[in-house]
């Protein structure tokens, strides 16, 4: 990969990481408030969104490709990425004393939460792309007007 390729990769990874940290924090606030309101954490709890977002970003980077994948291959990559994230988060949860996995709702709740964050991250990225496409369409209209004027 070229230097600019690495730079682009790093920027997109950082963008995804920041987005995931924000979404995971919101998810933890919602799930915690709804399901485990009385629980008290130490300052170490602030590491959780950072760590989970790192796992999500790593999974997304592992399954990305420089080539242009077909829609089918893209969907397969996304599914693998989601399964990797789900697996890693559930593994961490099962091995963490701070997460009460003995309660029946915790693991399904986490799995659903990961799915919600995954979908939301893609929706936000699609919204950003939509805005960019709108700008491109406006620039295109101006370009066509200018070229027609030349003729």
């Amino acid at each position: 990969m070229t230097r600019s390729g690495w730079k682009k990769l790093l920027i997109s990874a950082l963008r995804l990481y920041t987005l995931l940290v924000a979404l995971i924090t919101v998810l933890m606030i919602i799930l915690g408030t709804l399901l485990d309101r009385g629980r008290v954490f130490s300052y170490e709890a602030f590491f959780s969104p950072l760590l989970y977002a790192l796992i999500g970003t790593a999974a997304a980077m592992v399954t990305r490709s420089d080539k242009e994948p077909s829609v089918r291959s893209l969907i397969i990559r996304k599914v693998i990425s989601l399964l990797l994230i789900e697996g890693a988060i559930l593994f961490l949860a099962l091995n963490s004393p701070a997460i009460p996995t003995e309660k029946s709702w915790v693991l399904p709740g986490l799995a659903l939460g990961v799915l919600a964050v995954f979908v939301l991250a893609h929706v936000i990225q699609y919204a950003a792309d939509s805005k960019e496409a709108e700008q491109l369409s406006a620039d295109l209209a101006r370009y066509q007007e200018k070229q027609t004027g030349r003729i």
Binding site: E68, E132, A133, S137, D139, L140, Y143
Partner: protein
Amino acid sequence: MKLEIRKVPESEPETVEIRYHWVTSEIQEIISFVKSRQGQLSAARDGKRFEVPVVDLFYAESVDDRVFLYTASDSYEIRMKLYELEDLLKNKCFLRISKSMLVNLMKVSSVRPALNGRFSAILKNGEEIIISRKYVPALKQVLKGGEAR
């Protein structure tokens, strides 16, 4: 092939004359080039040759080493490489949007997001073609008034 270039008085029309023994691929290439400079491309459909006006082209696509031209409703095969066509049409509002495709920007009605950071160009005949991520910066540059690099 002997090349002869002769200056003519302004009262005479500028002329390109090709004297040939056989219409070889080399001769055909020269004919295509001259016609393209006049705003037409020489292409074939169902074994017949057609002069396709460049302004009518929507996009050009390379498929298995063959290059096809697409108008609103027809397709033609042209005996040129895609990069040669790109070079020929670069000042005629055509831009490379993927490894195998050139689009006439004047025939694009809008752009919308596709999956994975790519965009789709919606053409004025309703067709939709993919703009690869790699070529989006060049598209932005051209639309802003610069030249694609």
